[in-house]
Symmetry: C2
Subunit: 426 residues, 2 copies
């Protein structure tokens, strides 16, 4: 229902205005950038998958079964008892200092990286980190390099600043170095944005060699390297490959998030970067929403400082690893042979490539008829393409659900390929 | 401390990059808009006033003595018990439906305004409402009309979109109608932004006549009217003047906030607007940070639905009214005669005008030497001016503190006027 002028008050008009039955149309007033932000394909899909009978591999949700509800409840109780009045007041833009100290100490302990708490800004999750970095760096027409396919949320956020996207293909071992080098030398981008660990949407990780070569390619160039790392801790093996920070130092802007290791509903992430960048981000953050939720920051810090977070993360990883195994097995069991898929060593997603010439959007229609959903790959390609790809989420479904969902997907594929048969030569 | 490349990893460089002792300078990469956002004068002042011996009338903080800490604690307990797992998960961009329904019902009950819950977007407080509306409407060079003086946070947020500010003077009975009319007819602004109730920084409210004439002036014009109303409920009398919505219908974008009536640490506000605008705001909000803190939204709704909010607000109003009375009396008792000041009927601020030719920035220096602080008026003037004005906050100081602070301010003024005596003819 649009808002209507009420007849009791519209009589104030002096005759030169609209009739009160007429609706004001703001269309002509919207900024140019509004047309630049792609409408959220995923959001629209998620709406259609809200029906309880739909098995959804579409979302990017962590599994709520592993949320530490009781421990968060206890932490909240304690935080409110200790500092209830303080946590309800306005706070500083940069974020709660003990929380920034915790993040700083963790970088040091986990990865041997020195980052001062003053070089960290607490945000409302990585999505805001992306938006703020876009805001302080991107003028209209500036170039930004994205992985192809790349994170849809980044495409959306950056689009608001009307840059030109340049893409570098994502290979099985990470970003294509030749493509990256070409993009950087021919288009002088301000930013190269990367998710080196268990990327969204593909699950692909950069190999050690790729990381070194990204370092060689970007080092000393007048370009910012975003290392977005929401999934780094959600890994199915023990070794951790080095951060791009090791190769690129001050050129790197690191994003981190509590959404996958604790809970997304608390909406907390961070940016770690050189002080000169953090200073500008602070100004942008203050203009955007003053500061991140202080109540949630105090709860988060209380939780982190009174629980064994690594033991909790290990539990999540074990569960997701099993779900990954089940989904990979189901792909091999139920889906047509010859489909290409990633086999991620962490994170929450598997990437599936259908035969050339087929459409995952057409597949989605058939899948939804069978009450199973996924995200078509096309919107992850900033400059088009990827029509035959799709993303499957494995973090938010149990074993039985994965089997049933993949059987349904298999039936949808069968129907699709009846009309557009698999050609193994493609 | 800037981040330095560590020597153990810098050996990866292939020689064409920076030396590892050299620091990367991102200066040349920042977007043009970064230079447009004024650095936060208030933030800098607040830092200097953090010393406990300073009496600060500078902040814009609600009084934490009136935060409903126990009731929020109980509400949090109940929310976590009832829906702990849900409130830790990702949620919808538009916000928690029951919370939007509560806001919708309150508009109806308090002001007789029909607003569908679907025409409401939950934000991280009014500051984000401002930022998102700026983002969807303002292209570089677009005109936006602000009250003069106007809300500093709005000047900062809008600045990021590089508009041209047009100002209309704020008189004792609200925005100057001739100035508004001139601004609208000669500059074709996209937005007129107003705080009709107990404005920040002045405490001024629009009279009934001013509201009607704003309606007459803007109605039917191709312009959005922002009605920012964080203080509307913090009123020291019983009657409520009509919202601009009554006169301007769909042209009005309304901002509301829980920061002053419940607690700012929960960072929750909202935008209520025509569906076509809310749709675009949803896209911008999703790109900015996916959705507002869901944990806080569930806590807020639980608090609102199990407490007598109006009784709570009445307690705040009674306390602030007393503090306003005390500060007005202290101004008349201690400060030089002939200073002009507002006498607000609500909100949290009093606006003081020093004699022409004197500087409140010079006064601040003398005041800080005497351990009392306020905010100089200059930054509230988007296009300059106001050097002889200043803002005093009365919500966050008790009676004794107000008296002591005003005595100190009196001493600072005495010192200032020794060098630049009051001339009553100015």
């Amino acid at each position: 229902m649009g808002i209507q002028h009420t007849s009791s008050t519209s009589s104030n008009g002096t005759g030169h205005g609209l009739e009160h039955t007429q609706t004001f149309d703001p269309g002509g007033l919207f900024a140019e950038r509004v047309a630049s932000i792609p409408s959220s394909f995923i959001r629209d899909i998620l709406k259609t998958t809200a029906r309880p009978e739909v098995i959804s591999f579409a979302g990017g949700l962590p599994n709520p079964a592993y949320f530490p509800v009781e421990d968060i409840h206890t932490a909240t109780d304690n935080a409110l008892r200790k500092s209830g009045r303080a946590m309800l007041q306005y706070s500083t833009t940069e974020g709660f200092l003990p929380l920034r100290e915790w993040i700083s100490a963790r970088y040091k302990a986990q990865q041997g990286i020195d980052i001062s708490p003053d070089d960290i800004l607490i945000t409302n999750g990585s999505q805001q980190s992306i938006d703020l970095v876009g805001k302080i760096f991107l003028d209209k027409g500036d170039r930004i390099v994205l992985e192809n396919p790349g994170y849809l949320g980044a495409i959306q956020s950056f689009s608001a600043y009307q840059p030109r996207f340049v893409t570098a293909e994502l290979n099985d071992d990470g970003i294509d170095i030749q493509g990256l080098n070409h993009a950087v030398t021919t288009t002088s981008p301000k930013i190269v944005s990367m998710i080196p660990n268990f990327q969204n949407p593909t699950g692909i990780s950069y190999s050690l060699e790729t990381r070194e070569r990204v370092g060689d390619t970007l080092k000393g160039k007048n370009v910012i390297a975003i290392e977005d790392d929401p999934y780094g801790d959600i890994k199915f093996h023990d070794n951790r490959l080095p951060s791009l920070k090791h190769y690129l130092g001050d050129q790197v802007v690191m994003f981190g998030s509590f959404s996958k290791i604790v809970a997304p509903g608390l909406r907390l992430g961070w940016v770690a970067a050189h002080r000169s960048i953090i200073d500008k981000l602070n100004v942008a953050k203050q203009a955007a929403d003053l500061h991140s939720n202080f109540f949630a920051q105090r709860v988060m810090f209380e939780y982190l400082s009174t629980n064994n977070v690594d033991a909790h993360i290990a539990k999540i990883c074990a569960a997701y690893k099993h779900q990954r195994d089940v989904m990979i097995e189901a792909i091999r069991t139920y889906l047509p042979a010859g489909l290409k898929h990633t086999n991620p060593e962490g994170g929450m997603f598997i990437w599936l490539t259908l035969p050339e010439g087929t459409s995952s959007i057409a597949l989605l229609e058939l899948a939804l008829q069978r009450n199973v959903a996924f995200v078509p790959g096309k919107p992850f390609y900033a400059n088009g393409g990827g029509l035959n790809t799709l993303r499957l989420n494995f973090s938010n479904s149990d074993e039985a659900t994965i089997h049933e969902g993949m059987k349904r997907l298999s039936s949808a594929m069968e129907e699709l390929f009846k009309h557009a048969p698999i050609t193994t030569t493609a």
